[in-house]
Symmetry: none
Subunit: 198 residues, 4 copies
């Protein structure tokens, strides 16, 4: 596959991404993508053979894009609490982002494709976040910012909580304030005094 082909594939993936954001996963047909890309029906099949494959590649691209390695963007003098708060704010932003949200499509995809752990991007992303948080809590506990006896469980707890709010936002609704309160509650549980927040 030449350079041109690679460009074309990228182009299709970008357009397809928009479609998945708009319609979720199951509602998307090859026709939808063909139309979004303004290419021929047969043309699409030269690059992809199903919406499943396209979606998976969209997800991979997303992954690559997203890994601007969170850890690297932290200020030198940031405390563990600062970083954790930053992480939570970022998650919140993602949850409330309207026009750039693959959440529904992703869930729909994994509802019918529960691949082995290795291929499961969702799981990889989840686990990676858990590790980051765990590390943060450990560090924070060591230097007295937090109080936590089990950083591993705390990290998982935070991630499941975030997952819960993410899915709630898509089904039963979630307000900005409700999420803020949960973030506050969570930090309080870690022993962060209110005077230390703002």
């Amino acid at each position: 596959m030449g350079e041109k082909s690679i460009q074309k594939k990228k182009f299709i993936l970008e357009k397809a991404r928009d479609v998945f954001i708009e319609k979720g996963y199951k509602n998307v047909t090859m026709k939808d993508i063909v139309e979004a890309c303004d290419i021929s029906r047969g043309g699409l099949y030269l690059y992809f053979e199903s919406t499943a494959q396209i979606f998976l590649e969209v997800l991979h691209a997303e992954e690559a894009k997203g890994s601007d390695d969170f850890m690297d963007h932290i200020a030198e003098d940031a405390t563990a609490a600062d970083i954790l708060l930053l992480f939570l704010q970022e998650q919140k932003a993602e949850i409330f982002r309207k026009k750039d949200n693959l959440t529904v499509a992703t869930y729909e995809y994994y509802f019918e494709n529960k691949p082995t752990k290795k291929d499961n991007i969702l799981k990889k992303r989840f686990d990676s976040s858990v590790r980051i948080i765990e590390k943060l809590v450990e560090i924070g506990t060591e230097n007295g910012e937090f109080y936590c006896e089990s950083p591993a469980e705390a990290a998982l707890n935070i991630m499941y909580l975030l997952e819960g709010m993410k899915i709630s936002a898509q089904t039963i609704g979630l307000t900005n304030e409700a999420m803020d309160r949960q973030i506050l509650y969570l930090l309080t549980m870690l022993g962060v005094g209110e005077e230390e927040m703002e």
Copy 2:
């Protein structure tokens, strides 16, 4: 609609429930249900006009069934912690139940139907659970079983956590042990001493 019709409708809803459990929501066609019920194509339309309607009624029936009013089944001398644990165990059982699980179908349904709060069974169920937990935490705090400064937030926290584990079970996987550890963590956060559990 006579008594017989009502029976038939119930029968269809039961069969349809099985189909939704097996295939989720979006994958189910009127034909699937017709075949599961072993009735004629036109026959189904005498009772329901779409899979959406059928699913909603399945959900309502589920609701009615489920409301064996949890509160009533509590032992006289049960402590708040006992009851909370009971509730969490029940949620765990539901999450790990293989052959009786409408979770995926329900999420799929609400992904494309985000009705007003009134119609949203998912939200009703969620809110009702929040209220129960909140009450438990309040009582437990009053009599010294728990330590909690904000029962309302704690209740929401528990419910979002459960939601997070529920969706995780369907996407990235969730082990029995992982859930147990989260339950333990949660109780610990409420200040329940380990000696008091087992």
Copy 3:
């Protein structure tokens, strides 16, 4: 068939008539009629076996109703021109009647059922009108009201003209004024001086 049955049949025909007026002939289903009558599906089949049969009987009933023998309602001292004008006004009223118009249904019915002349109510009605007009023109010509060399052709001419306006009203549109002018033109052709009209 007992008295009660006859009443029921009449009832059905009345309701069915409304349906045909509203929807034409081809668009009407047995279901429509069943619903309009608020009887059971099977019940309708006890009396009629198809919409075609029902429509035909509606048409027969119409015929019976309509034959209040036009000729009898004429004033003693009415001139031929008076009577002809009366007839034309009546035809006009029928054409412009909105809520009581079986025209479309009737045409639709005869488009797919071109029965022998004997059964053709439309033809019977047409021929009967032709005879009446012919007689009128003859009488009018004899007593000098009209000038007409061929009353038979004139009568047919008038009837075809009316048919043309009737169908036009249902397809390309026909205004009240346009019809008035045609009536005027027609009388003029019969040599009725304008001073004699108003």
Copy 4:
């Protein structure tokens, strides 16, 4: 849409035309047309989305075909009466044409689609004919061939008469002779002496 597509569309319209002639408008299904064209079910939808659209295009094509501009085919030395007679003969031919008659389908179509005047081909055709006849009668009156005080009304009269005979041919029946007599009557009314005809 390429040249080939245009050809295919034309082909479908031709076949569909035959179907409409044979079965009228309301009785025709997409399946009928698919079978007449010997194409696939889905194939037809590439070109048309409903029988209504197909019929309308058939009618438009008919219109285009029919506009061999009647006016142009008139002999140099033809009198107004000659031309009018020619027109009437042509109408008669159309009415009695068995195997090439869209009359019924057209009426059925306009029974359920009464679009604005602009889209109403039937009305356009009617009005255009009225104008032609009016002109003819005017000219004929000027040069003494006809006697007519109101060419506009006379033209309308002729057209409504033709409409009446057209619909009668499809419902109550119309003989060749009956139509001939009406044509004769009509010319007589315009003051054309019998010696001047045939």
